[in-house]
Symmetry: D2
Subunit: 340 residues, 4 copies
């Protein structure tokens, strides 16, 4: 499903939205904006969203909601040197082949991290739709280069993190993570990390076991469309391969007349269907491929092996700025799961 | 996409298939069949596939290929006691809510591991379609309860494993894994594990960065539809969160006139698009939720908290039997990526 | 969308169905069955539906509802002579090319009118889903070979026709139609005709103007999948090209506190969206291509022009038996419009 | 499928396009532009297309091709009086209900004929894709208010019509049609009509009998999304209900070593699959609902029955301007049929 298609679908029932939707979209975009932290890129991006259609008198109309975010501070010439010498592990080479050589290489083109801005804008709308159903999404940085945040006890803890400049549960660990990022930056290198995210309020019984309607599969479709995401795990994720059934099973209880599980090792999904517990998952983001150290490439015109150096300005770690992006992808996925 | 829809799509171009397709389907089903190893369930399942339509004179016709696998040795009464007392971490409760109480609880119904048999049958057809394009799929058990197989050096190594009763690269590790399974079984418990899989031969340039056409997202849709799969990672997967860009980037080289990468930390996908290297991923399978030890549940009719014991016959570890299932899901995903 | 996929979707919310669903399915199949009228084919078809999965204790479970109808009285050898000499205007040639020569030619294969039996079965389920929402579907033969039934005044009139052996509003006209069919049959020829159908009870506001969600487009997808349908028109259909706006516009009124239109020239759809009036449309069915007179064909092996004669037993007019098929297609379309 | 989604799909393989694509898009838009003929509306619309993304150095890149056409000469206040008093047979009422009262009523909002401009732009791209495969689309006005153009003998005749201001085969009939339009206009009324369209060059064997892949169904999805289209018929269309098999069947012949049919009553499609002949169909367009005579409506705020008069400037007949729109819809449908 494309972003545009999603918007058309998700916005059909939005007629009843009150309040300033555009302001909410802008708030989410500001969370993603670069240039606010020494660990991030020095690029300035205004990220002002402009609505072309689908909004009338402050409410969505059900017609396609078309939003445009113009590019401002872009140094396209930074990219000219790389047009035919693809950067290792970036989308350059794969995109060059897919487009038969007609790829727009400037700024990373279709693969640019810039494309997470419209994703955040769409997610900001989806979050409002979810809020009408008492569903919310929260996330924290769970690890950077092996430095792990403390374990999340209750998803409610995430609510306090949305406005933190560096959203971790344990600020001491956060400082260590920042240092790891700055160390990598100083060496012209980059680091990977992970984000844990929870969608709270989805009722039990959504989804189905099969292809295309499986809850974990639907979330993954959206999450892997976020640049740099290379792994997705629900509940205890890869940890489950080290566990026994007695450790991994979530016993049922009757709490205040409501069936629920005492633990949530399964991350809120059993057999591809929600079980009423928060849907919790962790995504792994690879180290930014754009590093300033010399790297080996091949000139696609001649086949000659060449050494390249990436100029431009790049985040040494995308994890911080990806937090609202992952939340946005999760919000869009939750809307699809709900059949909105 | 449903299995049936997939079949309709995938089979359109199959007219040119020669050879005995049904025999190939049966061979794959036999790989999945239980009762061959002391680590697996004692159930006997014939798993004979019967083609209802879409096959004529040994070739598919392009009409929907409908295949039926009848259930034989089924002890439905084993499940009656559990109808209203859901098994922890199984699909029982989520399915009960989703079906508004009308779920067929016998044998796990729609959530039964039995449903991996038609998946393997569909995958067997997909594998033949891929073979016509010189694409093949292989897999090994990469870990059981923390015991890890050795690292896969070259995907080619997987070719030799298809007929091994316990498909690991290091048979010594395989023996340890089997012992871990038998230990868990002896205690009425179960264990989790992981499978690493490679799809070899996909050309560069397939897929796109967006939702719905992202290669990693498409694979995940199929993989998470396999019961027990809780995490999917491409290339170095979660390991990438512990790495720097210099470690994770795959340098390009010109080998014999062909652009390729020296390493494959990215698992064959950059920016959602194949880069021509093998697509390599690892899935994590949770410990079987069906253990014979007493567990806490709730009677859905009364809300009363109860203790249940699961009778029936269950695999203490589904990883072994899941190997051909993961291959089948990967083959189906590869066909979708190819637009077949 | 495939039949199977539809079933999976439509049946998710079916858990609440009570009563004997299979009996209702069988009743609809019996309406379609041949051999009951001298105007129809002499073939006998038992059309007994057998449910493989998705039904438990008389209710659907939400798992895919797989139904099988076996072929009984089939003279496959009737078709052998035609394997490489396609019948004019039948699907033979197009199907031969599409399947690269691997088509199952027996009984018309994938193009056989037999495939309307599963369509009717699926529609019978859809009708029950619609009935729970007070929506019903009715139809009449509106014309045969230029002999027209009288104009439908109120869709309610259609309710009385469901059990009539020859469902027309004016039985005198019905007799003329039957005679036209028998005349054609006596001459080894066939005749075309039309069916008018109404879906009553759809609320206003369903659908959207765009591709893929347009109500008229959704209905057409299903209707053109019925063999022999070559034209679909909503409301006054092609008659609107002969009209002025003053004649074609439907004035609004407030009847008993409810906004509705005084007339229904638009057939219940404006701008691709339902307006709360019955959705009324007419389909044109071509004369059966299978006639017993000699016809010109080409031998696909040699390119030689040949004369063929179709043996077998064929309906000289498919319109009568198509009435429940068109109702079934409309019921399935209505479910998609409702987002069920 | 949405326009945007289509564009994303269709443009993936476009990398190889040469030539000035934007100019071709503009040429098609100019064919649709109003204000060129006394029979059309007096509105002026610049219809200048602006490409936001997906085009680089004169070629599409495979990334979504986003094109924007700004509204210029719009008298929004013309519409204020009609906000709560829907115009008969326009999308106003259905849209008001669908959007729960949040519809943008200005200029007809989502139902405006203006939205055929982006459709034409998308179609202009699709036409270039088809031209690379030697496939072309042509159309003529086949009737206005009962005045019929002469019968189309060969689709090739349509090639000469693309640049005619009033595209008919018989200019005398064209003059009569124009007079009928001007007569209706003089009386504040409007007239309906029909367009016949051919897609030439599609090979045999495309499509399938089933829902969602049936060629006639795919075309209808696109055609009914064109405002005012109320009927679609392939080949002889509704005329087939007046015919016998001997008249309607298309005999095969071997012409110059190629199997084809001597006639094309079936409009190039048998059993939902192309047979290699031109795909020919006729669409019926209703009289413009926006007439200047007084009409009956209901005030949606109070339920009061009221008389309305539509100010604004409207086409007394949309058929003329719809010709390139129908061609565009057909081009998009042909791309979907080809699986592009």
């Amino acid at each position: 499903m494309t972003r545009q298609e999603f918007l058309e679908q998700v916005l059909s029932p939005l007629g009843r939205l009150t309040g300033d939707e555009q302001a909410a979209v802008q708030r989410e975009l500001d969370r993603r904006a670069p240039g606010k932290d020494p660990t991030a890129t020095a690029r300035r991006e205004a990220d002002a969203v402009h609505v072309l259609s689908g909004l009338f008198e402050g409410k969505t109309t059900g017609a396609p909601l078309a939003m445009v975010i113009q590019n401002g501070d872009q140094h396209s010439s930074d990219y000219d040197a790389l047009r035919y010498t693809p950067r290792p592990s970036h989308g350059d080479y794969a995109g060059f082949i897919a487009s038969q050589g007609c790829q727009d290489h400037r700024g990373g083109g279709h693969f640019s991290g810039r494309l997470t801005a419209p994703l955040v804008a769409a997610g900001a709308v989806a979050k409002q739709v979810l809020a009408q159903r008492d569903i919310w999404v929260g996330a924290h940085i769970s690890g950077i280069y092996g430095i792990l945040d403390r374990v999340l006890d209750e998803p409610e803890e995430l609510k306090a993190l949305a406005d933190k400049p560096f959203p971790v549960l344990d600020d001491g660990k956060g400082e260590e993570m920042r240092q790891a990022i700055l160390d990598a930056k100083a060496e012209g290198d980059s680091v990977g990390g992970s984000i844990e995210c929870a969608v709270v309020g989805l009722s039990a019984g959504l989804g189905a076991p099969d292809f295309g309607c499986n809850v974990e599969g639907i979330f993954s479709q959206y999450l892997f469309a976020v640049p740099a995401v290379k792994a997705v795990g629900f509940g205890d994720g890869v940890g489950l391969s080290y566990m026994r059934g007695t450790e991994a099973n979530d016993p049922f209880e009757n709490r205040d007349g409501k069936v629920r599980t005492k633990t949530n090792h399964a991350g809120g999904v059993n057999g591809g269907i929600t079980n009423g517990m928060p849907v919790v998952f962790e995504v792994t983001l690879r180290p930014t491929p754009s590093i300033s150290l010399p790297q080996e490439s091949v000139d696609l015109r001649t086949g000659e092996e060449v050494e390249i150096e990436i100029k431009g300005r790049h985040d040494p770690c995308v994890v911080l700025r990806a937090v609202p992006v992952i939340e946005a992808a999760a919000a869009l996925a939750a809307c699809e799961v709900l059949g909105i």
